[in-house]
């Protein structure tokens, strides 16, 4: 309460005006602001907060959340669209400063890829196999509904969620996978007619089944968010088999049967940046850097079953629009 002191002192030294209605009921000399907080209101509203938190443990509040979504979703969408020229300014500066580094990185990547392409027929044969796998995965029917991110949950809320401008009218429902051009973004939590709320995989409550290392069939584990987005964000991978240590730079992809689980299989999540062993409980934490830049999400795609009825064009597995 150190903040209050200077004002208290100041008010005491000043001459007090005579204001009978300013005195409190007990006739004390301490003048009371007639517009100050009433104790009864404070208690009533505190109890209201507690009952809201209790009600939210049941589905009782979901109509209220839906209503707020229907009301605020279109406004958020409109503001986001109108402000797009303004909000794209930071991205422009970003690309200017990072351009040099990106060119160098791309050059070395290019050289690596050329060398890999020349080296082995074995690799090429494997590539053909993978292509076949991709095709069969496409036959399983991953279609995408394109959408734009229109609102970000602030970090002050300590949950990492965003709103996208496609909802049940576009054929989206809860628990669908959300991806973008770089990799896995998250999953749909709830939908309204025109918008949907997406839980990002960097959220501290997010858990995704992940598979690392393509060669030996891959080690299976759980990818957990850390809630941090500074830089590119960070994920932790807990492997089921604690004895293996994945290599730095290996890719982590989603794992699942692709229909029942919330996340479809085979979507790249991120790359391993380091393995940390804890001496105390002999467990291993694998740091994963997500491919997706969660600081600047814009266009995303929601994975829907093939042939979904939607109010916008759906990207089909073969790349065509429908």
């Amino acid at each position: 309460m150190a903040l209050l002191t200077p004002f208290n002192v100041g008010s005491r030294t000043r001459p007090r005006p005579l204001r009978p209605e300013g005195l409190n009921k007990r006739g004390s000399l301490e003048p009371k602001d007639p517009r100050g907080p009433k104790r009864s209101t404070a208690v009533a509203l505190l109890l209201a907060c507690a009952s809201l938190a209790t009600l939210d443990q049941t589905p009782a509040l979901s109509p209220a959340r839906d209503l707020a979504g229907e009301l605020f979703g279109p406004v958020e969408s409109a503001v986001s669209t109108a402000a797009h020229p303004l909000t794209s300014i930071p991205a422009w500066f970003d690309s200017r400063t990072k351009l040099r580094g990106q060119i160098a990185e791309l050059k070395s990547d290019n050289a690596d890829l050329r060398r890999e392409l020349r080296t082995s027929d074995y690799g090429r044969a494997k590539l053909a196999q993978y292509e076949g796998l991709t095709r069969s995965a496409a036959d399983l029917g991953y279609s995408l509904v394109p959408a734009r991110v229109i609102a970000y949950g602030p970090a002050q809320s300590f949950t990492r969620t965003v709103t996208i401008d496609a909802g049940s009218n576009a054929g989206i429902s809860a628990d669908m996978t959300v991806i973008n051009a770089d990799g896995l973004v998250g999953r749909v939590l709830r939908v309204t007619a025109e918008t949907a709320t997406v839980l990002l995989i960097v959220d501290a409550d997010s858990v995704v089944g992940g598979r690392v290392g393509g060669d030996g069939g891959g080690q299976v584990g759980m990818v957990r968010g850390t809630g941090l987005v500074s830089g590119k964000g960070r994920l932790d991978l807990e492997l089921v088999d604690q004895t293996v240590a994945p290599l730095k730079g290996e890719t982590v992809v989603t794992w699942g049967d692709g229909r029942a689980a919330p996340y479809v299989a085979g979507v790249p999540i991120g790359k391993v940046t380091g393995v940390y062993a804890s001496v105390r409980d002999s467990s291993r934490t694998v740091r994963v850097e997500p491919y997706v830049d969660f600081g600047s999400l814009d266009v995303v795609g929601v994975v829907v079953p093939s042939g979904t009825k939607s109010d916008r064009s759906v990207v089909e597995p073969d790349g065509s629009l429908k």
Binding site: D33, R35, D56, V79, P90, P154, L189
Partner: protein, 186 residues
Amino acid sequence: MNRATTHTRLLGNLAVVVLVCLALVLQVSLFSAFAWDGVVPDLVLLIVVAGALARGGQFGLVLGFAAGVLLDLAPPADHTAGRWALSLLVVGYVAGRLRQDAGIGLGGLPAKPPALMVMAAVAGCSFVGTSIYAISGLLLGEGGVGVGSMLEVIGISLVWDLLLTPFLVPWVMLLLVRLEPEHARI
């Protein structure tokens, strides 16, 4: 109460509702592009502080609760409802107490708080509000972020709020005082 005062009061309340909704939408849709490690300025909190300083603690209490409930329910919120309501309720109360203790609005004294006091009020309220929100999350077992990064977020949001205060709070206070019926002014 005559017709004109009823109209002014209605207009004033409508203005407050519009202000809070606008602040909420700008906070999630516009300022997210300029976020600093994901932290954006708490526009809604600034409106609550301005309201409590301009019209007293009782108003700040109710405004804080209502704005907090909106913040809890509007997308993309996903935390337990009531957490922001509790934090902003306390923020409205604290700002109202500051106004009362400084004797602002009590007859004879200036009805406008000094600039330094507004800054101090915003700094204190921002710290208290974000901290209560973070602590309620710890108690409910939500958002498993470490205490270190919580303090970092609280610090960054305090800086953001102080940066925006000179551009927002005086104007909101002026608007709220202007839109108040004459007889209700103290």
